[in-house]
Structures are given as C-alpha cells and as structure tokens.
Amino acid sequence: MQKQTFFPNLGIGIGLRSAHYHDILTKKPKIDWFEIISENYMEGGKPLEILQKILHYYPVVQHGVSLAIGSPTPLDFSYLKKLKELTKLTKTPWISDHLCWGRLPGAHFHDLLPLPYTKSVVNFVVQKAKIVQDYLELPFALENLSSYLTYNESELTEWEFYSEIVEKAGIYMMLDINNVYVSSKNHGFDPIAYLNHIPFEKVIQMHIAGHTQKDHYFLDTHNDHVAQEVWDLYGMIYPKVKDISVLLEWDDDFISLGDTLLEANKAKQFQTLGSKA
C-alpha cells in the first residue's frame, strides 16, 4: 500500500459532460472531483474555455479514449504532445486510457477494441506503456475493457494479461468494476476470481457505471444507474480500495446533475458500512 502515500484519494467524482456544464458553472455544487475525456478538450474551442472555468473550482483528472496503445501503428506523438499540453493546464495527478487497440495505418476506429491475451502482446504493450508514461511524465494507468469477444489465440486470462502488463511496465490500473462485470457476463468468467487476482496496490483510480442487458450479451452503455451486482462487487473489494478515488461514468441518456451525484454518492454506503464494522 505504498502507493497511497503518493496518490491522493480525491473522493467520489463524476465524469464532466456538456449536459451539465450550465448547472456546474451556475450552481457550483459540492462535487469532490471531475474526470474529463481528454480528447473533448484537446481540439480547443468552447469546451476548453469551459474547462478552464471549471478548473478554478474543482480538481480534474484526465482520462483518454484515443491512445489505442495496442494498435500496430507507432504511437501518435502529435496526439501525445497535445495530451501533455492539456495535463499542464489541468494539473491532473495521473492520466489514464484503455488497454485496447483502435488504429491501423490510415484508419482510426473511434472504438476500444479488444486485444488477444498472449505473452507477445503483453511484451508489445509493456514497451509502449513505458514510452507513454515516460513521455507524459505522469503516473499512467490503463483501464480494463468491457469486451464482447475474445480470441482463440488467447493464452492468458484477462486478469493475468492486465496485471502482467501493469507490473512489467511499471504503470498503474484504472479498474472499472462495471467492465469486469460486463465482460464476465459476456465471456463466462467469475468476476470475483478476476478481482481476487488484481494487484490492488497498483490501482490508482476506479470507475463504476451502468450497462444494458441485450438479448444475448451485456453492453457497456454508461446510460443507466449502476447495477446492484456492480455495487456488490465494489462492496466486496471496498476494504481494499477505500482509499482509492472512485468515479461514476454516465455518458448517454443524461439525468440531472443532482441525480447523477446522488447515484455517484451511493458509493458512500460502503464507507458507512466500513466505519460501523
């Protein structure tokens, strides 16, 4: 647990989304912190102007969706340069993106595509992750995906693959509990086994979110309340993660800012339970 002396527990945060800009800036509600999707502010313009105002009142952490670290293309340093410039403005204490791929030469898929869980891919991503962390000069974390398919070629479990990359690269985990749950339903693994194998000393931040159950699979939609099963998983690991910043992602079919905060603050129930125990 050496990590906790280095990384502040920011408390319970929510994703900063344009649907709530007005309420945030006019009401300035009590919110521990915001997470931004970095790319939404990297093109400048009105979103960046608004972010600058919000930074006066709230801590902001950057989370990206376009690094596509497992892609076969070289890292995009023009993207990383802009990302780093934004970190100077936000003063984010750490930065994260996803353990996925999403680019090919001349193509960007705007999606978080799953990687095969093999030793060679571990080594490949490890090398890239080290470069990214060195370049950004910030603690860098990768988030576990919600995924809808796996590859015949995979030779490791998802948690082995994820843990090995983080350990070998000397980076951190952005652990998304909802993604663990969604993937467990889609691929038929035990989410508790997954969480039992996570090196929690490497977890720098956590996500919780809602999902949608389709006919034959679970979809990570971030457009609903957090499922009870996901809260249960969070509650189960709470003693290990009580000092880790947690964030509610809500990205579609938005509800009011007040209701979003109510949902996020459900995470406090475990704090109470913890103190009673």
């Binding site: 890292l75 995009d76 340093f77 705007h110 070629e153």
Partner: protein, 283 residues
C-alpha cells in the same frame, strides 16, 4: 519522435482482419449478411474469434461492426443538425453518412477533421441540392465556431502596418438563401418532428453572413452586406490595413469606394470591439 516497438505478427494479422471487417459498409449488413459472406471469410472469422455460449464468432464481430458505424454516423448527426432535419435522419444516414464514411474513413482522433472532410466531400457529391449544400456549409461553420479557439486580443487598437486576421472561430459566408434564419427556425424542433411536419419555406435571396463565437461562448450569426463580406473574406486570409486600402482601390469602383470609405471606420470599430480581429502574431 517515433516508437520502434515491433508488432507481433499474429497480432497484426488479427488487427488487419478486424479492421477490414469494420470498414465494410453497414448497409450490406442489413439482411442476413452472414449467409452472404464468402466461405473463406466465415472460416477466417471462426478461426480468429472464439464463440460465446450465446453467440457465434460472426455475431460477436458484428457487435463491433455496428458499434463502429453507429458511432461515426452519430458524429455526423451531431455535426450537421440542419442537414439531418432537411433530409430526415434515415435519409441523411443512408444517402450521405454511409457513402461518405465508405469513401473516406476516419484517419485520426480529431472530430473537426471528420466535419471538414464531410463538407468537402459533399461539394463534389452529385446528388445534393444547393439548399442542402448550403445547410452543410452553415452547420460546418457552427461546428468550427464551437471547436475553434477564441483568442482575446492583446489590445483594441489597430496598427495599420500589422497584418490582421479573423479569429479561427469566425466564418464569412455567402449563400443563395436566407439559411441562417431558416436554421434557427428548424433547430427549434427535432428531426423526428420535421419527419411529420411540413418544412418551412426557405426564402431564396442572396445573403452574406458572419458566424462567430462571442466572448460569452455562444455561437451567433449576423447579416452583413456585400462589401463587409468582401473585406472580411480578405481578413479571413490575413492582411494589413495598409494592403487592404490598396486592394480596395483596385477591387471596387469609385462609387463603391465612396460608400466603403464612409463605413470602413465604423466597421473596424465594431469588429475590434467584438474582438473578431487578431494579429497574425497572436494567432
């Protein structure tokens, strides 16, 4: 900088296959695609993708295919709200968005480049009316105003020797219709509403507009006259007052010059007050 990390061959094979599948136009998937797929492709999918207990390899890959297309189509839906309302969402997506992305796939993470490429593509698209094209150009100007920087000028005085330029968040536009007023009216209702109601009439008239984001972060339009249009278009490319004066003498008749000279100071005062002009150095 460049990273020289070697890509595992097996990984690259999977990714190239996956990517080529995602790029298949979505309209081909509407009806029973699996049965239409060549045998070798079906075999390749089954070799690479592990089936789940509920879905076969093809269906799992199809989730990603649909997600890819829905996401990028959704980008365009949001960038071109007037055009979506004019055509109807379904028509917009099937007749423009899918052909566009089939022709020009997103190449990087920036949404503004998708927005700009679409309007460029549309200009050469044979099945587009003048009104539809003007709608797209106007929607593009609004999106640019939203995503471009507004720079606060260092001072509000004009040095006649210094080259000036209009802020990036400002577009100077010339249309054959009263499209800005029309856009305002159309955007009061959703595209679903306009599917079931008669569209208002778009008045044909030569119009000149400026679309800009103001210091309160709102995007606005203003009607301008032909002469302001010409001068602001020149300023959009960047020019000094000194050079502009020379150009005015060459470009306009004596009568027009007299009119411009009575207005020019007033216009510049207004443009500098609105912080539309910055020096090239500030840009």
């Amino acid at each position: 900088m460049i990273d020289e990390v070697v890509v595992p061959k097996e990984l690259q094979t999977i990714q190239e296959f996956f990517g080529s599948f995602l790029h298949l136009p979505i309209n081909k998937f509407n009806h029973n695609l699996e049965s239409l797929l060549p045998k070798h492709l079906k075999k390749q999918i089954a070799t690479i993708i592990k089936p789940s207990t509920a879905l076969n390899s093809f269906s799992l890959l199809q989730i990603y295919h649909q997600q890819y297309w829905w996401r990028i189509i959704d980008f365009l839906d949001n960038m071109y709200p007037l055009l979506v309302r004019l055509l109807g969402k379904e028509n917009f997506e099937s007749k423009l968005a899918i052909p566009f992305f089939s022709h020009l796939k997103p190449k990087d993470w920036r949404l503004l480049s998708i927005c700009d490429n679409f309007v460029k593509w549309l200009k050469n698209f044979p099945f587009i009316s003048c009104e539809q094209l003007e709608s797209a150009i106007l929607d593009n100007a609004y999106y640019k105003a939203y995503l471009s920087d507004f720079i606060v000028p260092k001072n509000n005085t004009i040095d006649i020797h210094a080259p000036f330029i209009l802020q990036d968040c400002i577009s100077v536009l010339s249309f054959q219709t009263k499209i800005c007023e029309y856009r305002e009216e159309m955007l009061k209702q959703s595209s679903e509403y306009w599917n079931n109601h008669c569209l208002p009439t778009l008045e044909k008239k030569r119009m000149f507009y400026i679309v800009y984001r103001n210091s309160y972060e709102n995007t606005k339009y203003e009607v301008i006259d032909f002469f302001q249009f010409e001068i602001l278009s020149k300023l959009k490319k960047g020019t000094s007052i000194e050079y502009l004066s020379k150009w005015l003498k060459e470009a306009f008749s004596d009568e027009e010059q007299i009119y411009i000279s009575t207005k020019l100071v007033e216009w510049f005062q207004k443009w500098t007050k609105k912080q539309w002009l910055i020096t090239l150095q500030e840009k």
